[in-house]
Symmetry: C2
């Protein structure tokens, strides 16, 4: 079937999506052939429309289809706290908790010199420019990976001297998980961060 | 982020692909936003082009972007054997083996009354019309599922009376697999189909 050029070409497009391997991409291309012509046209239109309508909020760098994003636009939010995340997906996850009422700042990546991602490639300059006297705390919510940690450390060193409190999300055993299955680093962090009853 | 309509709409399109759940679809929609405008336009174009160019081969019902599919077009193939498969993906898998030199017939599904798929919804009529005196064997290569088995049985009852030999792919332990991990049905079939050295 390698002979069907437009099928291979379509699979290549699916394969460009992050986390999609060659086999999955081919499966998706086949699956798309089961769509009606109208459904396929709708899919194609949705791609172009999403790219056209969605851009970064000029303040939070969050994704939005308006002038500024809905979080920043919400006048009920606590403007003294900014939660820094790696990507817009993290905003979605945190918003689901319905607990956090502050603002966000999306870095669009983490520092990773090996991959050529230096601090100037991230939205760090934009974050610093938001830190006026109204901001009292920056919560660094990058992922607990090596790069996420390094980025958190970098931000903390940059922001603390400006007189703004910098905090990090707590590490520990995920709720509902069994101690037996927690990795050692998580357990170590859970012990380290233990709290009084 | 539920507020970004075009993102949700795009995720819905990905979610229509078979085997893609809501979370994966959303992840893909986000990932697509990382594409450049040109890449996104290329993706959209690839979808429309694949749908426009690819159709069923009028003989094999295999997918093709030509008048008849490349297998049927290949004059070196053995025209006395037809291998019946559920979908075009199976043709691709079998072609990879480079062992089979006969023709194919794609049913585009299996009989499944529960899902409203009766024999007339499949390309069975088209298969029967191909069975002239030149065809000596029909290999039924539907999947070893309940529906695949039922379809194989149905085809065998339909075709045998026409004087054409009907065979089924062998069942057994997959090469490289450990007996310990084979399920009982597979083991039973492997014993049943045992061969002399």
């Amino acid at each position: 079937m390698a002979e069907i050029e437009s099928l291979v070409h379509l699979a290549e497009q699916f394969g460009r999506l992050s986390g999609i391997g060659r086999k999955s991409a081919m499966r998706m291309a086949y699956s798309l052939l089961d769509f009606s012509d109208e459904e396929a046209a709708e899919f194609a239109r949705a791609i172009v429309e999403a790219k056209t309508n969605i851009h970064f909020c000029p303040i939070c760098q969050n994704l939005t289809d308006r002038d500024v994003c809905y979080v920043y636009n919400d006048l009920d939010r606590d403007r003294s706290v900014i939660c820094v995340v790696e990507d817009a997906r993290a905003v979605l996850s945190l918003e689901k908790v319905r607990e956090y009422r502050g603002l966000y700042h999306v870095l669009h990546g983490v520092i990773s010199p090996v991959n050529g991602i230096t601090p100037d490639k991230l939205k760090i300059k934009e974050l610093i420019s938001r830190l006026d006297e109204s901001v009292q705390e920056v919560i660094v919510a990058t992922n607990p990976t090596v790069e996420g940690e390094a980025t958190a450390m970098y931000l903390s060193r940059l922001i603390k001297p400006l007189g703004v409190k910098v905090t990090r999300l707590a590490y520990g055993i995920p709720v509902g998980a069994d101690l037996e299955y927690a990795d050692e680093v998580t357990l170590f962090r859970a012990l380290e961060g233990r709290r009084d009853f």
